[in-house]
């Protein structure tokens, strides 16, 4: 493609699906420049130790030639809201719109492909501009499957759900009062001389 072209990740869901399935590299297979709006990136990675967060950061750093984090005004607002303990819900999507508008304004020939979550792209009308196309995570995986670049779309989605289940069980164990109390008891026993060995 001779004109500017970007694949814009509009939401955290494709990132979480692919990272939990250990398949983030799938995003790079078409060889298109990948843009992640700052608010989407922050939403996916802001909690230290959160599932997938570290892998997403490492993956981006390993592919800075192909993946860019795009600064936005919405991202600045998001930072302020986080500092004030306010909700940041929906800001990723707004930042994606800002990213798209800036990108299209940068060059009259620029074209973009927006990556969206499946149910949202099926039921919610998205921006219509002849220079903008849409693709869902599932559509994207189906194309990779057809090109024999992944085993199957269903396999990746199954992997993501299975890994998500493990992560949620770990989260639940940490927040469950009984489990917490048991852990505390074990730690106390270890602190007591002659015990917990």
């Amino acid at each position: 493609m001779s004109h500017p072209f970007s694949l814009i990740v509009t939401d955290t869901s494709p990132l979480f699906t692919l990272v939990l399935a250990d398949a983030l590299d799938a995003l790079l297979r078409p060889g298109l420049a990948v843009s992640i709006p700052d608010a989407v990136y922050i939403e996916a990675t802001r909690v230290h130790g959160a599932p997938g967060a570290e892998q997403i950061v490492e993956w981006i750093n390993a592919h800075l030639d192909a993946v860019r984090i795009i600064p936005t005004d919405i991202g600045i607002d998001q930072q302020r809201r986080l500092e004030e303990g306010r909700s940041i819900r929906g800001l990723g999507e707004q930042a994606a719109i800002e990213t798209l508008e800036r990108f299209l304004r940068s060059d009259a020939a620029a074209e973009a492909l927006l990556l969206l979550e499946d149910t949202d792209v099926e039921k919610r009308r998205a921006i219509v501009d002849e220079r903008v196309s849409l693709i869902s995570t599932g559509d994207f995986l189906r194309e990779l499957e057809a090109a024999r670049l992944i085993q199957s779309a269903d396999f990746i989605l199954d992997q993501a759900a299975a890994q998500g289940r493990n992560v949620e069980r770990q989260r639940a164990a940490v927040t469950d009062p009984t489990t917490r109390e048991r852990l505390r008891g074990q730690l106390q026993r270890r602190d007591t001389p002659g015990q917990g060995r």
């Binding site: 078409p30 792209v121 196309s133 599932g138 759900a161 949620e168």
Partner: protein
């Protein structure tokens, strides 16, 4: 949210009857929670059928990916 409501919503989501947008409005904080809930029920995230208001732009999107993949093979 009561567990029964949560399970019902997730089943509806897996069947493509409610959107991720709706799940967020109903209290799911991030998509990892959604994946986890799907995994607990032995379900997977839905792939949207080629229907709805964005069909043409989606077809264009798939064609772009197809061409890009072909160009690299």
């Amino acid at each position: 949210m009561p567990e029964s409501d949560r399970e019902r919503l997730i089943r509806q989501y897996a069947a493509g009857e409610v959107t991720w947008h709706t799940l967020r409005e109903r209290g799911f904080e991030d998509y990892v929670q959604v994946l986890g809930a799907l995994g607990e029920l032995g379900l997977r995230p839905p792939i949207a059928p080629m229907e709805g208001p964005n069909v043409e732009t989606r077809r264009r999107g798939r064609a772009i990916i197809r061409e890009a993949l072909k160009a690299r093979s």
